[in-house]
């Protein structure tokens, strides 16, 4: 893949009129393998999937400022090598069924500060090679139960209630980790959504 875009070091795109000056073009490569087992019939059904995939980028240039990671391939921002998902449903009776969903993904790549130094009378931060580290892995377990109404044929409305809990383990899955430098002090932050189990109730009906 050619002409893949990525940022220069220090690039700031907000309200920038000369975007092209902040971007670099490079070569990309992506490869991987996918694996899926599915069971569709029976009271117990579901699937299990695993994907190994890589997506890498190379930004090499004769101009030192436009050279990232010494011109070697590095993981792209969306590189998630391992992706594992398990979905299963179990029908206990005609009216009660349970479902479970588990996903796991490698954390996405990130550039971390690795030290500091004094320059021009100020404290400066030295960062690692681009995307050398990864944010914590993502995993989540959801559980649910379906309760259906009676199955009389001549009903006006066929309905069921779904009670489920999203993120049962309460895993605090960061979707980004970033650093803020202000007044010579560096701080690390992570953002996450739903770091606590979220219960939901849904009522569905058909007519």
């Amino acid at each position: 893949m050619n002409n893949i875009l990525d940022y220069k070091v220090g690039a700031d795109l907000t309200l920038n009129e000369n975007l092209e000056q902040e971007l670099l073009q490079g070569t990309g490569r992506a490869y991987g393998i996918e694996f899926l087992i599915k069971k569709e019939k029976g009271d117990f059904n579901g699937y299990f999937g695993y994907t190994y995939s890589r997506s890498e980028l190379k930004l090499d240039s004769a101009i030192p400022e436009e050279n990232v990671n010494n011109g070697a391939y590095f993981p792209a921002n969306y590189d998630k090598p391992h992706d594992f998902s398990l979905v299963s449903n179990y029908r206990l009776t005609k009216r009660f069924s349970f479902s479970m969903n588990f996903t796991y993904q490698t954390g996405r790549p990130v550039t971390y500060p690795t030290g500091k130094f004094i320059y021009a009378g100020q404290e400066q931060v030295v960062y690692s090679a681009r995307n050398q580290f990864r944010i914590p892995d993502y995993y989540r377990l959801d559980l649910g139960i379906n309760i259906e109404g009676n199955h009389k044929k001549n009903k006006l409305v066929h309905s069921f209630v779904n009670i489920s809990v999203y993120n049962v383990l309460g895993r605090n899955n960061p979707y980004s980790v970033f650093f803020v430098t202000k007044d010579n002090e560096i701080k690390a932050f992570q953002t996450s959504i739903f770091s606590i189990p979220i219960p939901t109730i849904t009522y569905n009906f058909k007519f």
């Binding site: 500060p113 690795t114 030290g115 320059y119 690692s128 430098t181 932050f189 739903f194």
Partner: protein, 409 residues
């Protein structure tokens, strides 16, 4: 309707509570120890300075100095200038004074104590810029603070990239000089009477030189400018420093030396990147972090990273003087609150529902941080002391009374 509103409110609250930005402990994930080179040779004829240090872990507070390195610069592949380490931390000074010239090539070589060798690319400085105007204006800054903005207009030579620095020097006059030197004598402690002491004073009318001090500060960080997109190679109204109207520095007389260094695209980009990553404070527009490569590299043939830049720049400088009254501002306050403390030696008890003033006089005087501004030896207020913080009576406590050679009153 009310129920729906409440439901929405609860839902939004849950979202806010559970979707969040948390500060996480900043561990040094994988500390890497790099050599840091900070060097700008200039055309000023002086002992040129090069600073060598090492990166430290994020959670340490001390600087890490590179000691005992062999440092030299080769000019035009012929002349060698050796640099020796000084007592000042991490600073190496050239053995002899010299000035960098715009038509010469310079290359820095460093052999560190641990047997590694580093070198810079060959650097040729650009021709000097001309300062066409260096001036100060009364203004209100972006934070709505009234004050004085110092600005510089320049005309470039053969480069369109510039770096600006300043050196500010200001005069300080101690507002409450103490007329006496004192010593505490006959100190006694008595179980019933408490403490007692005499204060022996010698009249010492302060000479003007003892009352007047001069402080100098140097700019930090990076102030960069480019005339890159303009037709003419001119840069107008480059901000150098802003001084708020109530800044004590302009109370007496203030002087600022503005400097402009010519840069090339590499040095300019290096400083710009460092600057951008050191002010990465906007949560909504994060800048791409990364390792900032300068023009230094390892000779040993490995890919060891070196931080920093060997810069050779031609500097042009100009000095101006002013104070608050030149801009019709009100006289700014002094650097410190100068409230005098009035204490009665005869009050040696706490039974009068205020502190034991005698003990207070003693502890303030013995602390070395207070001087006697006045003492009443007779009359109704006999034995009353008026004390003043030494920050207000003696400016040498935080400044220097050595007059700089360039200073013009």
């Amino acid at each position: 309707m009310k129920k729906i509103a409440r439901f929405v409110f609860v839902l939004v609250s849950i979202l806010i509570i559970s979707s969040c930005r948390d500060e996480i402990p900043l561990d040094t994930f994988d500390y890497e120890n790099y050599l840091v080179v900070e060097a700008t040779l200039s055309n000023a004829f002086k002992q040129q300075e090069i600073k060598l240090s090492r990166t430290t872990q994020l959670d340490t507070s001390f600087a890490n100095i590179e000691n005992n390195a062999e440092v030299y610069v080769i000019a035009d592949e012929t002349t060698r200038y050796d640099f020796d380490q000084t007592k000042k931390e991490g600073v190496y000074l050239s053995n002899q004074s010299f000035s960098a010239e715009a038509s010469s090539d310079y290359q820095l070589f460093i052999n560190t104590e641990n047997g590694r060798s580093y070198t810079s690319t060959v650097v040729r400085p650009s021709n000097a810029a001309t300062i066409t105007n260096f001036y100060a204006e009364r203004t209100i800054n972006a934070d709505s603070i009234p004050g004085i903005q110092v600005l510089m207009d320049i005309e470039g030579g053969d480069t369109r990239f510039f770096r600006f620095e300043y050196e500010e020097t200001y005069k300080i006059v101690s507002p409450f000089p103490s007329p006496v030197d004192f010593t505490i004598i006959n100190y006694q402690e008595d179980r019933d009477e408490g403490i007692s002491f005499d204060v022996d004073t010698i009249q010492n009318p302060r000479l003007e030189e003892e009352r007047i001090c001069y402080s100098t500060n140097y700019s930090t960080g990076f102030n960069l400018g480019t005339s890159g997109v303009l037709n003419q190679n001119r840069l107008l109204r480059q901000p150098i420093i802003f001084i708020p109207a109530n800044d004590p520095k302009i109370q007496e007389r203030y002087s600022v030396l503005g400097k402009v260094y010519t840069q090339n695209i590499s040095s300019y980009t290096f400083y710009q990147n460092l600057d951008e990553l050191s002010t990465n404070d906007d949560l909504l527009s994060q800048k791409q972090p990364g390792f900032i490569a300068g023009n230094m590299s390892s000779i040993n043939g490995n890919s060891e990273n070196v931080l920093g830049f060997f810069d050779v720049a031609i500097e042009t400088e100009q000095r101006i003087y002013f104070n608050y009254s030149d801009f019709d501002f009100q006289e700014p306050p002094y650097f410190y609150d100068c409230n005098t403390i009035k204490l009665d030696y005869l009050d040696n008890t706490v039974l009068d529902r205020n502190p034991n003033q005698r003990e207070e006089i003693y502890s303030l005087l013995i602390s070395g941080k207070y001087n006697i501004y006045r003492r009443f030896n007779f009359g109704p207020q006999e034995n009353t002391y008026i004390l003043i913080s030494d920050l207000c009576s003696d400016c040498t406590t935080f400044s220097s009374n050595e007059k700089p050679a360039f200073w013009k009153d």
